[in-house]
Amino acid sequence: MIRGTIFAIKRYALHDGPNIRTTVFLKGCPLACSWCHNPEGLAPQPHPLWSGDRCLGCHSCIRACPRQALQFQAGSIRRDPDQCDGCGECARICPARAHEMAGWQSTVEEVMAEVEKDRPFFDQSGGGVTFSGGEPLLQPRFLLALLEAAGEEEIHRVVDTSGYAPREVLARIAPHTDLFLFDLKHLDPAAHRRHTGVDNGGILENLHFLASHRYPLRIRVPLIPGINDDPDHIRRLGELVAALPGVDAIDLLPYHHSATAKYRKLNIPYPQEQLRPDDTRIDALVERLRQFDLSVRIGG
């Protein structure tokens, strides 16, 4: 039985590919984008999240923890990260949902059972399942099994990826994918390294690989003020995308700070908490991209 780690399954997802979809979020990401809005998906293994404002002070978690990793200190529950093995007992026992688990192990069958629940909506709207993350390609065996299972069920499959993966993984996945959402973050290698922690060489090669093999592809660019939204960068993006065979559209995803609460639960600072780019600026960038005969959409 093939298992993987996921951290959310979201139904009636409207912006993760065409029509009504269910998005499965696979846990773990090799990138560390400073603006990441799914920080709970970064680490590959499950771990608890903590919302102190919900805590009733009942201490049932302290009693339940099999490794004595929790203590009551200075009016709050403290977790010793060295002791905690992410077993999830605290989240299971906590009545107030002060402890929650980011991530859990799941089988292909379990994920598919959840995905299939919305099959009538997929059938009606032409939607399907989207595998997102984290970086779904980080769990290639699990992802491939999921894609094959969805394919057998005639469910439309989207993979939402950063493109940061070994070529052979991508090549294995691609024939079982009906549409890639390819998140392109920055074209400048140094800036890419600075803001995501990894090089973009392989990403761009993978992008060309998918395009040249005519795998259906949508390019999505998160628009982060001050990082990748300068007109010159947008122009370069336009040139690159317009030159890709079979690609004539680009989606801009303006930064939003809805992840603030997630960082609080993770008890880590939000490296890039900032303002949403303003609409007039977005409009100007859209205009710029349209000059490359690209169809431009705001949001997914």
């Binding site: 912006h15 029509n19 009733l56 009942c58 009545p95 107030a96 009538p120 909506f121 059938d123």
Partner: protein, 786 residues
């Protein structure tokens, strides 16, 4: 919207609802003089005739359609023969902050001197409450159920296309012909039929006379009118009123005026619940529109103007003010006139036409409280219709509600109606299914299903009053399995239904005997042929409904007991019962455990949804097929309107973690805040209810406007609706509004007078709702899409 419509709309908006005592005075005078002289149907018909002759009539400046229930727009008569308001009632109505009805001190005094003394002890309500058994009274007072027929006449009536093909003269001919066929030798009820038919004929005469009085007034106004255009309009009004309802209409204008006179007549004769509804108005008007379009005698804009006039007319007729407990149940001006658009033709073809779209445009432009347009979608309906509806939905008026024609047909065919009659049927009131123009489908009252669990957990006693109100089914600590608890619950349920039906039967016969409705009987098939009244089994189909409330709350409560007491065994009966008795004070950890760690209805989770199915089957078994007094049967339907708020106030803390006095779940929607997986999961949960065995269900979904911005967003909304209907859903409606706006509206109501919201089955102005309803709307889970 042209100047006429914008002016009429503004006047409608500004008119303050008021009470007229004219009808009560005329009626009292009439009863003093004539009661006892005639058979009851003839007495009622003569009263109606007297009202049509004597009542003040009114034609407003700029109006094209004419006729008012009271002496002026938004002025409502009282019906003391059904419920006689006390002086205190009238003073409360005049002074209360919300849904106020103005009435002068002089009128109150006159009411006290002339009306109240006669009707005290004679009104239907007084007689009913004098007769009901004490155990019914106790169950009623503790909020186990409500009784619809205690102050308004049974109603929810909608019409088919008969009145567009036959005038009152034609009806009279049919009545005379039926009288000529009466067989006094072999039909022991022939004399009763004669009285009934004679009463119907009098009602037809009254309608003709009432219209002619309007024609006279219009002519009189025309002679005094300086403005040439208006003079011509008044002359046209006079011609129309001479034509309809005496004869069948020939033009679009006459068709609308025909409907309006019949509407007015039926709501003057009695004050049936949910006023009166035109049914499939677009289908009825379409032949007139097409004919006149072909002839070139009516432009699209003129048709829209006339349709707008009807909309404003309906908005000018607020609900008659209630007294006592029902004032708490639904404090609103809305009288629930519903207009069905789209749907199926009786031959099964798609029923949408140009009037469907015109009507949606009118609803969009006028956005009035009433009427409530609803869009009926079958598998054959074009996407254009649903898309047009979704463009109005996203404006946030709370309408149109969307119904599944195929389900509505199935519900009716299941109970033995012909498929043609079923297709001509639809929904009226909130979501109630009926065969338009051919059925009396009587709503008898709401059932507080979670309250039945509460008394089961208290061995048949109401913990709030301490009284025994049900069966003593045993101390719950003795229930050592879910099955044992459930058996006690379903025994209790059957007992309460028995009690309700027993008194329903009594009230039903009271209406049949003392409050026949001769005019309503004229326009509903087959009252003439049977020679029987609308309230006495005259219609082709006769159905009684009991409306079951709180399926979310009951399912979640049972699921909590099942999960924590019997499966996980981490909570004991003692702990749970103590926490409920304490309203969870000092038991917050337990409350949160119940609230957060229980499978709840609305999440597409079979653990909860199978419990919903179990309860639904028990309700069905206890209600469906029970005999009424007309030789026909009861069915159930699943709506709460605003009664879940009243029921919540009568309900202590519940095992799902809900605090005492908070609203129960509305309609068939999940408990507030219990649905945590988005709208597709809600729809999947709802689709596990075999809705075709009901007479309607109600699903509220609230969306933020931000998720309905683009065309793709609307496509997805339409796909959501279509999928729900493919899965057998009966109805879905959307509230599109953001919380911040609602908070602002609470702070400065005057700035948000036009803010319409959907509250369980109808629309209201947010600022006219009481604080509980406002809070409830704000709390409803926001289905944050995407």
């Amino acid at each position: 919207m042209n100047t006429r419509i914008s002016q009429l709309r503004q006047e409608s908006f500004e008119a303050e609802p008021a009470i007229s005592i004219e009808r009560a005075l005329l009626e009292t005078e009439f009863y003093r003089e004539h009661n006892g002289k005639y058979s009851q149907p003839v007495l009622r018909a003569r009263l109606f005739h007297y009202l049509c002759v004597e009542k003040t009539i009114h034609i407003g400046a700029k109006e094209l359609l004419v006729g008012e229930r009271g002496p002026a727009p938004k002025v409502v008569p009282t019906f003391p023969e059904l419920t006689c308001h006390s002086v205190a009632d009238l003073q409360v109505l005049n002074s209360r902050a919300m849904t106020r009805y103005r009435i002068s001190e002089e009128d109150i005094e006159r009411y006290q001197q002339e009306v109240i003394p006669y009707w005290q002890g004679r009104s239907m309500r007084d007689r009913i409450f004098n007769e009901v058994p004490p155990e019914w009274q106790d169950a009623y007072e503790c909020g186990l159920f409500t009784e619809f027929m205690e102050q308004r006449a049974p109603g929810h009536t909608a019409l088919d296309n008969t009145i567009y093909r036959q005038g009152m003269r034609d009806f009279k001919e049919r009545i005379d012909e039926r009288i000529s066929r009466l067989d006094y030798h072999h039909d022991p009820l022939a004399s009763d039929r004669y009285e009934q038919l004679s009463a119907m004929a009098i009602a037809c005469d009254a309608m003709i006379l009432f219209a002619h009085r309007h024609a006279d007034l219009a002519e009189e106004l025309a002679t005094e009118e300086a403005d040439g255009t208006r003079r011509q309009e008044l002359e046209l009004i006079a011609r129309v009123c001479r034509r309809v309802p005496e004869h069948a209409p020939r033009t679009f204008h006459e068709a609308l005026q025909m409907y309006w006179f019949v509407h007015l007549g039926t709501i003057t004769e009695l004050n049936g619940w949910d006023a009166m509804s035109p049914g499939h108005l677009d289908q009825h008007l379409s032949p007139f529109y097409r004919r006149e379009q072909a002839r070139g005698s009516l432009s699209r804009e003129q048709a829209k103007e006339l349709l707008s006039c009807l909309w404003i007319k309906i908005n000018n007729h607020p609900a008659p003010p209630k007294v006592g407990v029902t004032a708490l149940e639904s404090g609103t001006y809305n009288d629930f006139t519903q207009i069905n658009l789209g749907g199926l033709l009786c031959d099964g073809q798609d029923g949408a036409n140009e009037i469907s779209y015109l009507a949606l445009e009118v609803a969009d432009e006028l956005h009035l409280l009433q009427p409530q347009p609803s869009v009926h979608i079958s598998a054959k309906s074009p996407d254009r219709l649903l898309k047009a509806a979704s463009r109005v939905i996203r404006k946030g008026y709370g309408y149109p509600a969307v119904f599944n024609s195929d389900a509505v047909v199935m519900e009716q065919v299941r109970v033995g109606k012909t498929v043609e009659d079923a297709r001509e049927g639809g929904t009226s009131g909130c979501i109630e299914t009926g065969a338009f123009g051919k059925e009396a489908y009587i709503l008898t009252g709401y059932l507080n299903v979670p309250k039945i669990l509460e008394i089961t957990l208290n061995n048949g006693h109401d913990p709030l009053s301490g009284k025994q109100v049900g069966l003593e089914t045993g101390d719950p600590r003795g229930f050592n399995s879910f099955e044992a608890l459930y058996t006690a619950f379903s025994r209790q349920l059957t007992h309460i239904i028995d009690l309700k039906i027993r008194v329903n039967n009594y009230i039903e016969r009271m209406y049949a005997k003392y409050s026949p409705a001769p005019l309503l009987s004229v326009v509903i098939s087959d009252c003439i042929e049977k020679g029987r009244d609308y309230y006495d089994g005259g219609p082709r189909y006769n159905t009684n409904y009991i409306q079951c409330c709180g399926i979310g709350t009951i399912t979640d409560s049972l699921s909590a007991i099942q999960t924590h007491l019997f499966e996980q065994k981490t909570v004991s009966w003692d702990e749970l019962l103590q926490a409920l008795a304490d309203n969870f004070q000092g038991h917050e950890a337990l409350r949160l455990k119940l609230w957060n760690k229980t499978p709840f209805f609305g999440n597409d989770d079979d653990r909860a949804d199978t419990i919903m199915q179990l309860v639904y089957e028990s309700l069905f078994a206890a209600i469906d097929g029970r005999a009424n007094t007309k030789g026909t049967v009861y069915h159930l339907n699943m709506l709460s309107t605003t009664c879940h708020v009243y029921f919540g106030k009568k309900l202590g803390a519940t095992p799902n973690g809900r605090l005492a006095w908070q609203p129960a779940s509305d309609g068939t929607s999940p408990s507030h805040g219990a649905d945590r997986q988005g709208p597709t999961a809600v729809i999947k949960s709802l689709s596990k209810m075999d809705q075709s065995k009901s007479g309607g269900t109600l699903l509220n979904q609230r969306f933020l406007p931000s998720v309905l911005k683009t065309e793709q967003d609307l496509d997805k909304l339409c796909a959501l609706v279509r999928t729900y209907f493919r899965l057998g859903g009966h109805h879905i409606q959307f509230n599109v509004v953001d919380t911040a706006t609602l908070r602002l509206a609470q702070q400065s109501p005057d700035d948000y007078r036009n803010l319409l919201v959907r509250v369980a089955g109808y629309s209201d102005y947010f600022v006219d709702l009481d604080a509980d309803h406002q809070e409830e709307i704000i709390k409803r889970t926001e289905q944050q899409l995407g």
